[in-house]
């Protein structure tokens, strides 16, 4: 595309007072900051974001400004420290909100209200404010005060039960999956939709976001199937309801290749390349129904063949015939050798005053005319306190100094 790119991201000019911490909340506001919004993270050493103390650390040594886990979730944000237990700090937070378009938090319901920062309290004189509240189970209902994290949310919302080997306990994704994509994306989408509406009408609003509900939305087809067809949903290994073979097969170099056949032609090409049917009982393997009925036999035969190939060369061979396939890459391969991620400049190294140049995820979205804003590493704790107080909130240097002596900025 020859159209000229703007130097700024699509959200430049949007200011976010960001009270989120840990996983899902911080990954939501990262989407905004990576696309040019001014995201001001309000934090405190008195109630430190636990991710600042979570591995991995620069040089393996713990320290509040050394966590790679924290850094990746907070690129391009600013940090102000405020001890929100103190009245004066709350007043400063309210001043910040009054100059922001968006407030975001992922505390339990009621926490922001106790700090005088609840929606009702801060929207009285700021009708255009969009206020996102991402609690574990929403702000209403009998379980609204329950506590949880990504992995417990994955358990509660069904994805763990449905994922894994058919004959073993549910294993899920092994990660805090709801924190990484379902909640950040649904929350960012709701927020951006509300901003769109706000720009058209001048009206802000409160977004009550339950961190269990989006993940349930993502298993909607299984839920509906279990209801209308009165079916007990089971774990399915790597099978699907459409076709076979489909699976993860071992290779000579200890790696795994995923192969998925949908069309009879793909099967014919695969069989031609790997001579699978010669190792099997004589059946009508050209029929998808037969392949599905005897899929475990097929999988076993394919595994005995793939084990004689290196994964990458097998992928190249299968892709030469357009057979859906891919190596189950590990992180070293993704970072160092994956040609496609490299082509998209996915991994970005940003310079940080304590950590030097370290790795960040760019968002997986490219806009043809407006830039990503992947310029600044995660902030040091409180790095921008003075700048925000003086330049944005109009406080004098003396005032800031005085308040610092009162331990407001810790």
């Amino acid at each position: 595309m020859n159209m000229k790119k703007h130097s700024k991201g699509p959200l430049s000019g949007l200011r976010v007072a960001d009270f989120t911490w840990i996983g899902a909340g911080s990954y939501t506001t990262k989407i905004l900051s990576d696309f040019g919004a001014e995201v001001i993270k309000v934090e405190s050493s008195k109630s430190l974001d636990p991710l600042r103390n979570t591995a991995p650390f620069f040089q393996g040594k713990p320290g509040i400004n050394r966590s790679g886990y924290f850094a990746d979730r907070n690129s391009n944000k600013k940090s102000i420290v405020l001890d929100l237990k103190k009245e004066k700090a709350q007043e400063i937070a309210r001043a910040l909100i009054s100059k922001s378009d968006v407030v975001a938090n992922n505390f339990s319901p009621g926490t922001m209200d106790k700090l005088g920062l609840g929606y009702e309290q801060v929207s009285q004189d700021h009708k255009s404010l969009v206020y996102l509240s991402m609690s574990m189970q929403g702000s209403t209902g009998p379980h609204s005060h329950y506590v949880g994290f990504g992995l417990t949310i994955a358990a509660l919302s069904g994805i763990q039960f449905l994922s894994g080997a058919a004959d073993r306990p549910p294993v899920g994704t092994g990660t805090n999956y709801p924190d990484h994509v379902p909640n950040p994306c649904h929350a960012a989408f709701a927020l951006l939709s509300a901003i769109y509406y706000q720009r058209k009408t001048g009206k802000g609003q409160f977004i009550d976001f339950s961190q269990t509900e989006p993940s349930i939305s993502l298993i909607g087809t299984s839920l509906i199937d279990s209801i209308v067809n009165e079916r007990i949903e089971k774990r399915m290994d790597n099978d699907n309801l459409e076709s076979a073979p489909r699976g993860a097969y071992p290779c000579r170099d200890g790696r795994t290749i995923a192969i998925a056949i949908y069309l009879d032609q793909q099967w014919a090409d695969l069989d031609n390349l790997l001579k699978i049917s010669t190792k099997l009982e004589s059946r009508d393997w050209h029929s998808n129904k037969v392949r599905m009925d005897y899929r475990k036999e097929l999988d076993a035969a394919i595994s005995k063949i793939t084990i004689d190939f290196d994964a990458q060369s097998l992928q190249n061979l299968l892709q030469s015939k357009s057979i859906p396939s891919g190596v189950a890459s590990n992180i070293a391969e993704l970072v160092e050798t994956d040609p496609q991620l490299n082509h998209r400049n996915h991994w970005i190294k940003l310079n940080h005053s304590e950590m030097g140049k370290t790795i960040y995820n760019a968002p997986p979205i490219r806009l043809s005319r407006t830039n990503l804003n992947m310029e600044n590493s995660a902030p040091l704790l409180g790095e921008h306190t003075d700048e925000i107080c003086m330049n944005l909130l109009g406080m004098s240097k003396r005032e800031v100094q005085f308040l610092r002596e009162q331990d407001i900025f810790i």
């Binding site: 506590v147 763990q160 990660t175 994509v181 370290t358």
Partner: protein, 418 residues
């Protein structure tokens, strides 16, 4: 939000007034659903007679393999309209270009360059309508060495790195249920669309949004990239072993629970767990109160994990998931049941929030329940305005709006364009 009814909202929807031409034909339907459920007018453009390929995707309502009975179609196309139009034919292309003039967004999941070959490249559409946004969700993005690789959800989980870390160490890895690679592409696709929409509000110019599903999957790898970069650790599958003692999945009387009470962010809940065990008279509760359980190294050791598992499972073996959930949560311990579909439907919290929507599917005569609002917006509530469309149900309305006469429509039908 009321249950058991399709309702016309009393409130505005946030994306009212946005028109989306939805060319999804492979895996991007959930992106269109997110937009449609927020109030955008999303028009699904389907092949005449056979309809969109998602209509043939199982499972089916009452297991009937009929284009109006597919559950993926039923669920991923809520609130959309449907027209039939063959954009591969010249007449169809002309009509599509007329529609582009009226649209804000084209959403598509064609293979890269496939639309260019049809003469419908973004550059060309942009000339017809400078404000048009085109969101393209593809396996690997529009360009690059893998751009034309054959793929499916499983191979994208593999090439995005999530498959390698899912499942048990002593067997090949296993997928996440319900096509999560596609889901991730759709979620980021919807976000990318809104980023462009907000930018267009300021600049009056559209742009192309290029989403790579493989790249979306890399966002789900937790701290893998940073662990490799900073500590040279290569994350592997961990099966169901506890992350730290006190954090993992445990069997109980009627299923499994997930506990998150030991190590890192979870360690602040440890004392609540010990208190609970003491009150319940759990054998070994006092043992868990000893100082070594504050030591992350011990919490990470096989000995620590084994000891915790022995104590917990002895306690839980005659307790139900419901008992453990209530008991733990009333003492602020992050413990949750590993819910199956049936328990999710009975979940009191979801029912209290009217999370589920129920509506009549006319072709089967069944009232069908499905997930509803994934977020509650105070001014502009989510709403199910109508169910997934029947094939071509909006042909007459939309083509009339474009000024096509009855005769013209009839001739287009004969030609197989509509």
């Amino acid at each position: 939000m009321t249950q058991n009814s399709i309702h016309h909202p009393l409130f505005a929807s946030p994306l009212d007034g946005l028109r989306v031409l939805d060319l999804s034909n492979r895996f991007s339907h959930y992106a269109g659903k997110l937009l449609a459920d927020m109030g955008a007018e999303v028009i699904l453009i389907e092949a005449p007679i056979f309809g969109n390929s998602i209509r043939n995707k199982p499972p089916f309502i009452q297991d009937r393999t009929d284009i109006e009975f597919g559950i993926p179609h039923f669920y991923f196309n809520t609130n959309k309209r449907s027209i039939t139009l063959d954009i591969h034919k010249n007449e169809g292309k002309k009509i599509f270009l007329e529609l582009v003039k009226t649209a804000d967004i084209v959403l598509e999941d064609y293979e890269p360059l496939a639309l260019n070959k049809l003469g419908l490249s973004y550059e060309f559409l942009h000339k017809i309508n400078p404000k048009l946004i085109m969101t393209s969700i593809t396996p690997f993005g529009q360009t690059g060495p893998y751009a034309n690789y054959a793929s499916d959800d499983l191979t994208l989980l593999a090439l995005g790195g999530l498959l390698n870390i899912m499942g048990f160490e002593d067997m090949q890895p296993t997928q996440a249920a319900c096509e999560q690679a596609y889901a991730m592409g759709c979620m980021f696709g919807a976000v990318g669309t809104m980023l462009a929409v907000l930018e267009t509000q300021l600049s009056d110019l559209g742009q192309q949004v290029d989403v790579s599903i493989q790249e979306c999957v890399t966002l789900s790898l937790e701290n893998s990239a940073q662990s490799f970069d900073l500590e040279k650790k290569i994350r592997a599958r961990a099966g169901n072993t506890q992350r730290y003692a006190g954090s993992g999945i445990f069997e109980c009387l009627d299923g499994f629970v997930y506990v998150f009470a030991g190590g890192m962010a979870a360690s602040r809940f440890w004392k609540n767990l010990v208190e609970w065990f003491k009150i319940e008279g759990v054998e070994g509760a006092n043992e868990l109160a000893s100082p070594k359980w504050q030591d992350l190294k011990y919490m990470h050791s096989d000995e620590g994990k084994q000891l915790f598992e022995n104590i917990f499972t002895a306690f839980a073996s005659d307790k139900t998931m419901a008992f453990l959930y209530e008991g733990a949560q009333s003492r602020r311990i992050p413990l949750c049941p590993v819910n199956d579909c049936q328990s999710i439907l009975k979940n009191k919290q979801l029912i209290s929030r009217s999370f589920f929507e129920t509506a009549l599917h006319k072709d089967s005569g069944l009232k069908i329940t499905m997930p509803g609002a994934p977020y509650l917006l105070s001014e502009t509530p989510w709403s199910l305005r109508h169910l997934a469309p029947r094939l071509g149900q909006d042909n007459v309305t939309i083509y009339k709006e474009l000024g096509l006469t009855e005769e013209k429509l009839a001739s287009l039908r004969t030609l197989g364009v509509v």
